[in-house]
């Protein structure tokens, strides 16, 4: 557990952090967010003593960190900054091995750990281990940055805009990957960002800061539904109902989809479709193949003739997705329901627009 007690940081006459108290539960992701200059990065850098507070204390597991030698403290805290923090003159493998090397790990153990971490962040060790940061794309570099921070398996991770310098699509992918890794590793994470969607997606708790002060510290759901004051209200924006959808998984809203099999006869398909305009088509293993329009059935002799083939990538969402994704897919495709598939692209059901609406109303109350 990390405990910030009445932290103050003055730079000359400006007060960057003003009497900040915060408790971060072990195994949780705490996101510090606020407009630039609100003191969030300063706060983060005080936790690994890159900046010393003017007054106040920081306790990690009840131990005052001002009593620990900074270098020793930092070796037990993972630190990830934007991809630019990778050392350009070292290979990816050497970059990841920096902290293990400082801790005098055995060579064998270090290289094993490097491979393990590269796999964890979804990079092939054989292909990427010997590359230099200059040869990576932005997204790859940031994944290496995360791997490097995790190298010595520290219980705490500090991340300063770790997904900042990439395009929105890559960022979203990195965020989901990070969420998956975090679910597995259960680190205590403090993450600084100015991207509210990122905060909502990743945080167990969000700390909203303004002018050095902590304005609200709560779960994303509470912050979205009950902003503490006008500042938070304005900060989360008028579309907070929409944002809240990205905290809700689709799994609770999946309904049976009544698919037809590609091998079914036309008459059977017609019976299943009934009065509906269309039906999803799966193969023998239950994998989604596309859909069939009811009107097209009249002239057809077999299902494969009239199948509108579409891959799960294009039309379906995975069961780990959020209602926010479901809604954007519906709006993007102009449909009233989207199929939900599992990891093997097997159809498990569908989510409809009315369910999303219901969820919005429900959480508003």
């Amino acid at each position: 557990m990390i405990h910030l007690q009445h932290l103050v940081k003055d730079y000359g006459r400006t007060r960057a952090v003003d009497d900040l108290s915060l408790e971060v539960t072990a195994g949780e992701v705490c996101v510090l967010i606020g407009p630039s200059g609100c003191g969030k990065t300063t706060t983060l850098r005080m936790i690994n003593r890159l900046i010393e507070p003017s007054s106040g204390h920081i306790l990690i597991d009840d131990q005052d960190i001002s009593q620990i030698k900074p270098e020793r403290l930092r070796l037990s805290i993972g630190y990830a900054i934007q991809s630019v923090g990778l050392f350009p003159h070292m290979t990816v493998a050497t970059n990841i091995a920096v902290v293990p090397k400082l801790l005098n790990w055995e060579k064998e153990a270090t290289s094993q750990r490097v491979e393990e971490l590269l796999r964890l962040v979804g990079l092939d060790p054989g292909e990427f281990g010997h590359k230099y940061p200059g040869q990576l794309s932005g997204g790859q570099a940031q994944r290496v940055g995360v791997a490097r921070a995790l190298a010595a398996d520290p219980p705490i991770l500090l991340m300063d805009e770790p997904f900042g310098a990439v395009d929105p699509l890559t960022r979203e992918r990195l965020q989901y990957q990070f969420a998956r890794i975090q679910q597995e590793l259960k680190k205590t994470v403090i993450l600084v960002t100015h991207d509210l969607n990122e905060a909502i997606r990743l945080a167990d708790r969000i700390a909203i800061m303004s002018a050095g002060k902590l304005v609200q510290y709560d779960t994303p759901e509470t912050i979205l539904s009950r902003p503490a004051n006008k500042f938070v209200h304005d900060f989360v924006g008028t579309d907070r109902a929409l944002k809240r959808l990205s905290r809700i998984g689709v799994e609770g809203f999946v309904k049976p989809a009544n698919p037809v099999a590609i091998t079914d006869s036309i008459s059977k398909i017609a019976a299943v479709i009934g009065r509906q305009p269309s039906a999803w088509v799966v193969n023998g293993d239950g994998r989604l193949l596309g859909w069939i329009d009811r009107k097209s059935l009249a002239q057809a002799s077999s299902a494969s003739q009239v199948l509108v083939a579409q891959t799960a990538d294009e039309v379906a969402i995975s069961r780990g997705a959020t209602l926010h994704e479901a809604l954007s897919l519906m709006l993007g495709q102009g449909v009233k329901s989207v199929p939900v598939v599992d990891e093997q692209e097997r159809l498990i059901g569908e989510v409809s627009l009315s369910d999303v609406e219901a969820a919005t109303v429900e959480t508003e109350a």
């Binding site: 850098r45 690994n48 890159l50 270098e71 020793r72 403290l73 930092r74 070796l75 630190y79 900054i81 934007q82 630019v84 923090g85 990778l86 050392f87 350009p88 003159h89 070292m90 920096v98 902290v99 400082l102 230099y132 200059g134 040869q135 990576l136 490097r148 500090l158």
Partner: protein
């Protein structure tokens, strides 16, 4: 090391060997100069063989550049640390001053203190060669982007570890460029050592100037120029060892 680098080391080794074999063979040297200057009475300075002059010259350059590097780099590092930052302006001023001084004048100043020969020449050359090394060390270290240092310190490196693992490797190309300039200039400047009896390739040049014998001048000047080219290539090859693929 890439195949390209192996090739450039190989070419350098062959050229150097060919050059040394040529100047070691005094008949070849004399015959070549005789061919160019058939009317001169003597075409090689009889005082010593060209190989001896060459070897003296290499010693002068090696010792003075070695000392320059051993003083210059630590000095440049020190004035960019917290402990030495106050001395930064003083050191840059002094090293610039050292280079604005004509080396001949430096010789005149050090002779009364150190006498004639090898040592005063080395002292003058060190003073003269310090500026590029110190200045490039400072520039190179200062140009290391702060976020690399921030990441290094944030990951738990001590200042010293960050200096050796991050700062110096990243500044190495700039530092190496400074060393290259210093050593190349040094090879040319070392010829003045002959004035106060340090020998070297300056001996035939100065004898040639005094006796109005162009063959002597060529005997000293051309090997000095070739030496400079070979050493420059050697240092360029070393510089390439520090290279890493930049932003793709």
């Amino acid at each position: 090391m890439s195949g390209k680098q192996v090739t450039s080391w190989l070419i350098l080794a062959i050229l150097t060997a060919a050059f040394i074999i040529f100047i070691a063979n005094s008949h070849w040297v004399e015959a070549s100069l005789r061919f160019l200057f058939p009317q001169e009475e003597a075409v090689v300075l009889p005082r010593a063989s060209l190989l001896e002059f060459f070897w003296q010259h290499v010693q002068l350059v090696a010792v003075s550049s070695g000392i320059t590097i051993m003083i210059g780099i630590p000095l440049g590092i020190w004035v960019t640390r917290t402990s030495g930052r106050d001395f930064l302006p003083l050191v840059t001023d002094l090293t610039s001053f050292g280079q604005t001084f004509p080396p001949v004048a430096v010789l005149a100043l050090v002779v009364p203190v150190l006498g004639f020969g090898f040592q005063p020449t080395v002292a003058a050359l060190v003073l003269y060669g310090l500026l590029p090394v110190v200045r490039n060390t400072i520039t190179g270290l200062k140009a290391v982007p702060w976020h690399y240092l921030d990441a290094a310190r944030g990951m738990g490196m001590s200042r010293l570890e960050a200096l050796f693992a991050i700062e110096i490797p990243l500044a190495a190309p700039v530092i190496m460029a400074g060393i290259r300039i210093s050593v190349i200039v040094n090879i040319g400047t070392a010829t003045i050592g002959a004035i106060i009896g340090a020998g070297g390739l300056g001996s035939p040049i100065i004898a040639g100037l005094i006796q109005d014998n162009l063959a002597f001048i060529i005997e000293g000047a051309v090997p000095a120029a070739i030496l400079a080219i070979l050493v420059d290539q050697f240092l360029a090859n070393i510089e390439r060892l520090f290279a890493y693929p930049a932003q793709a």
